[in-house]
């Protein structure tokens, strides 16, 4: 038998998991087309591909969440047909999803107990939880309630929960999309260790540098088909991206000579008590954003970014109208619709359920934010053709891949839905765009398209506020970067001054030296 990996040094005789001609059909659409993949023990295997390439579909089939339409799955040399995830877990396949399934008001131990199949007592389970988390250097206090934890800690719960089943094979779907660089580094140490123990790992990510660092093998999907299996260490990020796209990837180019104009979004001493029990209090937030400018807000998730978004968008109203000024008009008391009419547009972090109604069509979701100001409604009547035109334009401009012209939002792959949501707002030519995590879970090519669109929007004179955990992204597009910590916003640093170290310090809550702050404020 020909050894499929380029290194060709597997001591084992047969792969741990092998798929042969695995296909998944949705209607006329082939999400997976005859995929052959071999996973060997002691291997970190990357699964790469553009948004909608079929990565999640493939791993869901391997984990028994969906039934393949054709093809075979072999586990330790034996053909298996999985009846569901619990059988997959019993056989030794574990999975960590990108979107966590945790209950905020339960403790860590209770959450883990809910997700386990075994019959052991709660006490034994808690003890084992502590032991597993200690062994792998994934510190977790079983008695803390989940709402108190950071995103990274929450992910640790999911990983520990998977490890407690002692899996031979662990699948991680975009685990680092939501992590800070430090948290990601910690995760890589754990993964290396799991590999050293002889386990296999299948790793989905859009971050090619980390794939090159971490993974031994990479399988690349394009349009549902496997195009290549290679050794990522022998490739460059560019060559990997080319294989994913099947062509050259566009570089993001800042339009030179961008001129800043009048202030378009001004926030004056905004303080706001949290709306929910577990929310963050916003304290004395002030900044000014001019037309033609992109301001980045960095920070670990859960430090008040969601609350700031709600206050800027008008989902929550401020008592004092003057705290939020849009296009020179005091807007703190205005509804989100009125703010849209002033020329503002918003992209929230959560795609499903916040940015879109999941079970409604894209055209209806275009109407969701476009009804106020985009000529989609005449005298109370919906212009269906106009909503469909918006879908078509967003599809074309941002290359949204979908199975039909106007599908339900929930059926799009994560990245493609993100492109649609960002496109829907940018096509309205807003004067002010407030966007959270613009490229969350979006592939490299599409991320470049979105970032370019934000730069172009600013070049056309709009004020753009970008909240992101991805410092590289902010460095690429923002003119100034401020950091959010415990509901407070630091003074913005100009992009050239905002080194990773400085931002890291601010994100950890320490303030810069007084003279440096003064310097930054003067910049």
């Amino acid at each position: 038998m020909l050894d499929p990996t380029p290194d060709g040094q597997h001591s084992d005789k047969s792969p741990l998991l092998r798929t042969i001609g695995l296909s998944k059909r949705y209607g006329d659409f082939l999400a997976n087309d005859c995929i052959d993949i071999d996973i060997w023990p002691r291997e970190i295997h990357a699964l790469l591909g553009e948004n909608g390439a079929g990565k999640s579909t493939l791993v869901k089939a391997i984990y028994g969440l969906i039934q393949p339409s054709a093809g075979e799955i072999h586990w330790q040399g034996e053909r298996i047909v999985l009846s569901g995830p619990s059988e997959a877990r019993r056989r030794g396949i574990g999975m960590v999803f990108q979107h966590f399934s945790l209950f905020d008001n339960l403790t860590v131990a209770e959450n883990v107990a809910l997700g386990l199949d075994g019959k052991e007592s709660f006490k034994d389970m808690s003890a084992r939880l502590e032991q597993v988390s200690k062994t792998y250097g994934l510190p977790l206090d079983p008695r803390r309630e989940v709402w108190q934890l950071s995103v990274g800690e929450r992910q640790r719960i999911e990983i520990v929960r998977a490890l407690m089943q002692d899996p031979k094979f662990l699948i991680l779907d975009e685990p680092t999309a939501v992590l800070t660089p430090q948290e990601a580094d910690q995760l890589f140490i754990v993964l290396e260790r799991l590999k050293a123990e002889g386990r296999a790992i299948l790793y989905i990510s859009h971050k090619l540098e980390e794939v090159k660092r971490l993974c031994d093998t990479a399988t690349i999907l394009r349009g549902g088909k496997k195009v290549e299996t290679c050794n990522p260490r022998r490739e460059t990020a560019g060559s990997l991206a080319r294989m994913m796209v099947g062509g050259e990837v566009k570089e993001v180019k800042a339009v030179s000579g961008r001129k800043t104009t009048v202030p378009r979004l001004v926030v004056n001493d905004l303080s706001l008590a949290p709306a929910e029990a577990h929310g963050v209090r916003l304290e004395h937030i002030s900044f000014e954003l001019k037309g033609g400018e992109i301001l980045g807000i960095a920070g670990v998730a859960g430090n008040g970014q969601d609350e700031l978004f709600a206050a800027l968008s008008g989902e929550r109203l401020a008592k004092d109208p003057g705290t939020v000024v849009i296009e020179g008009i005091a807007a703190g008391h205005l509804s989100i619709t009125q703010r849209r009419k002033l020329g503002a547009a918003f992209v929230p972090e959560e795609r499903l359920g916040h940015g879109t109604a999941p079970r409604m069509r894209l055209s209806e979701n275009a109407l969701l934010t476009g009804h106020a100001a985009s000529g989609m409604v005449h005298r109370g009547f919906i212009d269906t053709a106009a909503t469909l035109r918006t879908v078509d334009r967003a599809t074309e401009t941002f290359d949204v891949r979908k199975a039909k012209r106007d599908p339900e939002a929930a059926s799009l792959s994560g990245g493609n839905l993100q492109k649609f949501i960002v496109g829907r707002e940018i096509l309205r030519n807003p004067a002010v765009l407030v966007v959270s995590q613009p490229t969350w879970g979006v592939d490299a090519g599409a991320a470049a398209v979105i970032r370019q669109a934000l730069l172009d929007l600013a070049a056309a004179g709009a004020a753009v506020l970008v909240t992101s955990q991805d410092l590289d992204e902010l460095a690429e597009i923002a003119d100034r970067i401020a950091v959010m910590f415990h509901g407070k916003l630091s003074a913005p640093l100009s992009a050239s001054e905002a080194s990773r170290e400085k931002l890291g310090l601010l994100m950890g809550g320490s303030s810069l030296e007084p003279k440096e702050v003064a310097h930054a404020a003067g910049a």
Partner: protein
């Protein structure tokens, strides 16, 4: 081995259409068992219920007459339910509408008031129904009181108020002490469509209501707001739609339609105000709304079907001495099956050959 519910990726439109039919089928099977237990011949009983009423013109007209209030109430309820506002008190709004409209009829009795009487009655009844429905809606929005409980309790208030009026101030002096108003004057009566028949103008109004609701939900931004608020509340807030405002609006519309149905029933088929003007239209309309998939056209069809069970129930009582309450049992079982089958639109049954399964969302 175990039967589990698995979430579907996209809602199944076929099942959405077929699910009410499955529910009706299951209900009929259950009824057959029930008839057998009651010692009645199930086939004859089913014939009396579902076939016999369709065989003569009089019963056919009667079905349309019974369906008229059901459609109007159910259309209003469907708007509430789509917006996640649970109006259970349509029966009360129906009665209050009947009372308010009757007030004009009683006050103009025997005068030479002109053709304005009937339109005025309709308008007043709709307004009264709407106001009555606003009580639970505003309690919900202002104080967070459960609209399910408050709207239901107000049914009994309306019922007793009507009772008081027809036994006291409005009682027909020449009515041999029966608790009823005098027969309404012709100007206060809904005209018949066919001379000597049963079909009246109300059925046309009901059809107009169906058309209006279809346009509202399918073509207008308000209808869209109603649907989004129910389907994805957080996205609706992001869209700028105010859930509380829509609770008030849908309750008002549904109260107005129930009130209108009430006065049409009183000034049409009944002809005077008396207790027991409704065989539970306001409650049966809840079943109609769900059986009709909260869709205007579906509701029209469902209302005809449930009207058939009313007429069939009467025929079965006359022909086979089956108690009239069996109709209510039938309707209750039907609602149960409709709701159960609805879960199949978003979930599917799967056989699993292992002990336990926890399904999770996927990335």
């Amino acid at each position: 081995m175990q039967l589990v519910l698995e979430k579907r990726a996209e809602r199944s439109n076929t099942i959405a259409l077929v699910s009410p039919l499955i529910a009706i089928g299951l209900t009929i099977v259950t009824m057959v068992v029930l008839f057998a237990i009651l010692g009645k011949n199930p086939l004859l009983a089913l014939h009396a219920y579902f076939i016999a009423p369709l065989t003569d013109g009089y019963s056919l007209q009667e079905i349309a007459v019974k369906a008229t209030p059901l459609v109007m109430i159910a259309i209003g309820l469907s708007l509430c339910y789509l917006a996640n506002a649970w109006n259970i008190g349509a029966e009360g709004q129906f009665l209050i509408g009947a009372v308010a409209g009757s007030w004009i009829a009683v006050k103009t009795q025997g005068t030479d008031a002109g053709a304005w009487v009937l339109p005025a009655m309709l308008v007043l009844a709709a307004a009264a129904g709407a106001l009555y429905a606003l009580i639970p809606a505003i309690c919900k929005v202002r104080f967070g009181a459960s609209e399910i409980l408050t709207s239901l309790m107000l049914v009994y208030v309306a019922d007793l108020f009507l009772d008081y009026l027809v036994r006291g101030p409005w009682r027909d002096p020449h009515g041999f002490n029966f608790p009823t108003t005098a027969e309404f004057d012709p100007v206060a009566t809904v005209p018949l469509l066919i001379e000597g028949g049963r079909l009246h103008l109300g059925s046309i109004i009901a059809l107009l209501v169906v058309a209006a609701a279809a346009i509202l939900l399918g073509r207008t931004i308000k209808g869209f707001e109603i649907r989004v608020v129910g389907a994805a509340p957080r996205a609706a807030r992001f869209g700028g739609f105010n859930a509380n405002q829509l609770i008030v609006l849908t309750f008002a519309i549904s109260g107005a339609l129930a009130g209108l149905a009430g006065i049409i029933e009183v000034s049409g088929p009944v002809g005077h105000l008396q207790p027991g003007i409704s065989p539970g239209y306001g409650f049966t309309a809840i079943i109609v709304a769900f059986l009709g998939r909260l869709n205007p056209l579906g509701i029209l069809i469902a209302s005809l079907f449930l009207a058939l069970t009313f007429i069939g129930g009467e025929q079965a009582q006359i022909a086979m001495k089956i108690p009239l309450d069996v109709t209510k049992v039938f309707q209750g079982i039907l609602l149960f099956y409709v709701l159960a089958c609805d879960s199949l639109i978003l979930y599917r049954f799967k056989l699993v050959f292992s002990n336990r399964q926890v399904s999770r969302g996927a990335g």
